[in-house]
Symmetry: D2
Subunit: 474 residues, 4 copies
């Protein structure tokens, strides 16, 4: 069977290159599409076209930008099933989660449509000293310039939306380098955007071999790198970025605290979802669960029961909760880490086995921070469960990490909430929910090794703009 | 002994009128000063001078307004003991509270000095529809015009500060009508302000007989009435205000909820203070205390013990907690209300007796909302103590009132805090403190019959200004 | 022919009353619909139902409110032609203007859908003094309560939208009393809203005889009167409002300054539109045009030529610029004022004649401020044209009025723009456009006798809400 | 004569090191003080102490931080003459400018005292989708961590203030590496700060050899580098910064446009000041002046006359306008660049000669962008004067640069102002003043090669903090 070719999207043109490659369905192992990898030539054209359109984008009135973004949202909504099918086919995400991702992408574009009319602006007094008498100031934000957006395999539509939608709102041309494993959703989005009146050159999608990422970092015409992916790659890009601004949305080993005053049923239910949703392959995957010692045994029992009820299998089945991992190397790495942990004293409460690229939902205890399953980003359906003594110690356990993206805390006690908010070294503290919680308009991003800068539509827009002050007579 | 005359302050001139009157010390009963009441003539001059200075005030750069406000704060600070002595002498406030009031007045002017440089300003996009293409807008706030400020006897310095400081920051001329019982603090403030470079006409202090308040309400040259005082007078002013803007800071019968999960020692300590500080003569006096039935008996015992420890006596004694009320009619009214309540079934847990204008710290229980001590503003050292069943019912009990200024809630439970915030019909919900809590920069004001509009420096400034939009090409 | 009955909309029910009345097309003079006037009974039911739904509205999540508002916008858009036809039939507005009004109503509801998710919220530090250590504050805005909205005949759809859309966003039940001359658009809107999931009781439309307005002002269950209409009625309502909050959007005699440095073609074109659009029957009608003496003669010639080109006639004709006034009494009053002006020395440059309820586009000069055509709101196709000497004098001429809604200034000179912004006593200064300029999301409202408070979706929402502070431990 | 030793300030201790060095007065050439250079040991101690105090600083209430900042401002004010003398002695700044710098430092600390109470905070709705129902969010800013501040020689007090004051307000420990040429002002500031209750470890001053800057860039315990200085050093630091945040305040070759509609006297006066103040050794030195061809000849004559009137000489003389440059290498480099320019066709209108480290105020014309005096940061009393044709071309000429800090535009024409604001690629556009204009509270910083991030107290504070979101039930 001839595969459907998915040409890359180069500033208004769908075009093929000599570097053809196949995208395989991770579940079936069968090829689902033919795509093409870009080279210097394509990068150069996309940047050149972006340069040409910069001024026009900056001057586009907000109702036009807003209209384009609404149109994109509306088209995604119309193609909900189709797009969810593509997501599932390229990254083996269970269909119900793929549908939820499409809904979130609609929301991301709608929100950007609204924020495009509300770009930050300041009007300030300057007469605080005699030297400023009769002067006042306006601060307007201008688009930073050309953005290269690097997106990961795990949310192949909505994490592209989180870069493209703010860029359109900000008036920045953007070139997306999707994960070479999952470029199809981004290319489908290109088809939708191509039909809008967005200026040619404002948007390109160029799948690249990862080793060709330097084509972006080396290019002085690009002003910003916006990267979502693994910490090691992200920090390396920052070092090579030269004068460019860099925003990094990386991962972590997110922790959750289950306090003894909490709603236990709620905590269990949310932790099962947080630990195993999309096989743990999300930046804010619930990796470490710290439970107060008095309820540890209860929690563990209920949690394991919840894990047992997860339905594994074909991701296209609407009932499936958990399916295969993105590829076999990923599953093998997980297997190694779990084995190492067990060797070092960890105890497997359930799961632990690999079959091809499927890895069982796995719960460990008796772990310590020297084990990779604790200290590194596991990015797999593996959860560590440990008891704690006092709330303060639980906070310290969550903080004992190089990462700091989000953390969850189950409690209704205001003093504990305050202690957690003041002391958890993370970008977001989620009360009565798991770290996985994300509304696409909320400020989102990590500290420590988990990243730099913030996304969340409005916040991403601000990162893509720079202020300019006008000092004028009054 | 010849009394020191305190002339009124008329747009830069200290002057006497034919209506001389004596201010008596409520504790000693002895005259402490001679003051003068204004008439139509003085009101007219003050308004005329205010009119003349309006434009100059509007155009004063912020560093000058800020400098004047800092100077006033600094002078009040230097005269701390002197001013506290005057407060105590005219309203029988215990000296330690008078000193605290002076400190707050310093803070109020300092805060206004800072806010004078931060007047609200907006810079907005107008190109949300094609009709607004290439247009954008600036919103600047301009002073509303001449303000008549009515201030009560209970904070004769800081509640004057809460009108004068924002008016200077906003650039509005203001004429203060202090309580005829306690005009001395305002007139002392006038001496301080008179030495600053504030433009002549921007500030006047004219004590008036209460029946002459119509001189302000009838005057079309005045744009705003800012009244702090009793609900009946406040609402009457609103009806007579014509086209003027009206801000009312009135009182209430503030309630507090003591939840069974709270820190009981803290709750008792704060409630004793809240119930009897300055003999309950404050707008946010803790009048009604609702205690969970399981801890009611405990709380009551501890509370009564705390009340017993209050030191009554001479307000000039630094150790005194509670002294006489403002005058004998006030104490008699209190006596009547307590007697009526007892007749209708209330039980006195302590106090209840009057001696001249002294009224004992009084605690009642077995009350119901038909009694004045519950439903009206008691404005006296009288507290009602009742048990409650569920938190929701306690919230309903606090809400069962025509008033809604502030309420206190002692709890650390987040669900209860949220329920209280969402459902208490008041201007402010104070967690783990009594309704009396006020920081002078926080938004402050009541709903229902407790008032209209907000004070709290920044918020008062906004009330004294009006927005003007500039639509311009971009 | 039997007239289509348009029952009033009473909290989810379309119902008739005994007070039937006919709506006539002002152009054809023929009846177009039968409507029904409400009585105390209907007002009482609407208020009662509104009371019952208050709490539910307050607790509605923003995505639901936003969804309802988007649905209304979308339905209005779908019925664009139909609704424009109704507007034209009940108020004789030329069809192209009616279509523009429908578009604006769509925008008003869309904007409210967005603002419903962005209600004002503050998070503040309280530790500015030791007394506030470890405390911080949240300010959330809560719906004010039941609103009675009074709307005028001249924008029978969009000025209803300007009250209903913010009320839904704010979570306030609202009862609309449309102009008894033009209730049909509001009743059509009711049909649209009735199909949304908006809670029953949140919205009613009750046409009343104007003399029955007291049914709202007297009702203590209503918290706010939001009135758009004539100054005399508005200010009278304020006096009778008791404790209610009142927002008044009244009219004026808006002035425009044509500076000698401006783009004359632009100024002429905009002034012709501003002076005669919908026969001058708008609050921000360009009534007084002040032109620099050096260009006065040029401007006058070009302006009169522009006026001559206006096409008068049947409002249903898409080419019609100007049609009849709302009724003959209005046209007769206009005739009287023009005649009086002429008698007092004014010169008619064009127009001046009445035929039934049609009044010719009329331009006067040689006028003075003693004439009603200058000092009162003419609300008719009458414009006064006068030369001025210096820019400062032109500003003073615009300010020589009891009103202050908006003013236009044609100039590119920054010093003049600044002078105008600092000195024109109005709610909005429009550079290089006429006072008629309004984007529905901009802050809009008058000072002096032109009103109280602001509309403009976000600003209207704030007027319909009140702040509540939560002081909490941190 | 024995020199006064100025020990470095190491977390509460003034201490000497083995690396002693002399500071010479650039004007007299005589040593004025003995200072000491730090080594790894001192850097390590300062960072260690900073680490220990981080948590305490984070938890300091705002009134304490504000009090410390006010105390510093007040002490600087008391030592005005003394500090100005030190500035003049170490960097040869004319005394009147040194006094102005001290006044600005007072203002910088006062402003930080006010902003310390107004740290950014957000309170947001999360219920924009069903998944966020009943959730809301708080965003609080937390101190980023330890900051290394690099400050230049040209404002040895106020540019230190611009790092230290925001750091104290933000709650970040800061270690200042002053210019090794001018460490004395920073060390005087240390004496003042040492007397405040600021926690030990929150502030250190360690002069270092420039080649030892890597001691900061290599240290992973430091979270942020805040650098003010030359572009080449700044961008190099960014490359070596690893995971640290970097803020760069660099220089440029600022341009000014003198439009034919402007106030010529004002433009000349400001340009003379902007071109030669402190011998052009400021980041926003007016280097390039573009004058409309019609007024070029007039402007040139007036400008040269103004330059001639500048009084050169001893910087301690209160009348002196211009004195020596910081050192002879700087003057020699300037000489070389001017000679190269002349060789390539430039014409000297005045000045051009060097004597030791004094360089005459120099005006060139007939230049082009290949010359260093145009394209590089000249940082010397050298100005280039060129005519332009159309305003659009003048904007393009200013933009034809690798830098983009600030630009000045003399005009009153709104269309030109708008064109300049929309098109000048700089951080700040100054109307009717030179690029040198800076109020210390305004947002300040460059784009292109002129820097990254913003200073200006409030803006600097934000750069030193990171947001943390709390998602909570409501």
């Amino acid at each position: 069977m001839k595969l459907l070719p998915h040409p890359l999207y180069l500033a208004g043109e769908f075009c093929k290159t000599s570097l053809s490659t196949q995208i395989k369905n991770p579940y079936s192992g069968k090829p689902v599409a033919e795509t093409f990898l870009g080279t210097w030539k394509e990068v150069n054209i996309s940047v050149q076209k972006a340069l040409e359109v910069r001024k026009a984008l900056q001057e586009t009135p907000s109702y036009k930008k807003s209209g384009i973004l609404h149109q994109i949202a509306s088209e995604i909504e119309k193609n909900r099933q189709h797009l969810a099918g593509i997501i599932t086919s390229e990254c083996a995400k269970p269909l119900k989660l793929s549908l939820a991702e499409v809904d979130r992408a609609v929301f991301t574009f709608q929100t950007a449509a609204e924020e495009a009319k509300r770009l930050p602006k300041e009007y300030i007094d300057l007469d605080w000293m005699p030297a400023g008498e009769n002067k006042e100031g306006l601060v307007k934000y201008f688009p930073l310039g050309i953005i290269a957006g690097f997106t990961p395999f795990n949310f192949p539509l909505n994490l592209v939306a989180h870069k493209v939608a703010p860029a359109i709102a900000a008036g920045c041309p953007i070139i997306i380098k999707p994960s070479p494993k999952t470029p199809l959703s981004a290319l489908e989005l290109a088809k939708i955007i191509d039909k809008t009146p967005l200026s040619i050159g404002a948007f390109s999608v160029i799948p690249l071999r990862n080793e060709d990422a330097h084509l972006f970092t080396d290019d002085d015409r690009i002003q910003m790198l916006s990267f979502t992916g693994s910490p090691s790659v992200g920090w390396m890009l920052k070092e090579k970025a030269g004068k460019k601004k860099v925003v990094l949305e990386l991962g972590g080993n997110a922790g959750v605290i289950v306090s003894d005053d909490c709603d236990l049923n709620l905590a269990v239910k949310k932790c099962v979802g947080g630990g195993f949703s999309y096989s743990g392959q999300t930046c804010i995957h619930t990796q470490r669960i710290y439970v107060h010692k008095n309820i540890f045994s209860n929690f563990t029992g209920m949690f394991l029961k919840g894990v047992k009820n997860l339905k594994a299998g074909d991701p296209t089945d609407p009932a499936t909760d958990i399916s295969v991992m993105i590829d076999e190397p990923a599953a093998r790495r997980t297997e190694t880490w779990v084995k190492e942990a067990v060797k070092a004293g960890a105890k497997i409460l359930c799961g632990g086995k690999r079959k091809g690229n499927f890895f069982e939902p796995t719960v460990l205890t008796n772990t310590d921070n020297a084990m990779n399953v604790c200290s590194e980003e596991v990015f797999a359906p593996v959860v560590v469960l440990e008891p704690y003594d006092t709330f303060e110690k639980a906070v310290a356990m969550v903080n004992d990490s190089e990462f700091g993206l989000q953390a969850g805390v189950f409690t209704d006690n205001q003093k504990r909430i305050n202690h957690a908010f003041s002391n958890l070294d993370v970008g977001g503290v989620i009360i009565n929910n798991v770290p996985n919680f994300r509304m696409d308009h909320m400020p989102y991003g990590g500290i420590k090794n988990s990243g730099l800068g913030r996304e969340g539509v409005k916040y991403a827009i601000v990162e893509m703009m720079e202020p300019r002050l006008l000092v004028m007579d009054k």
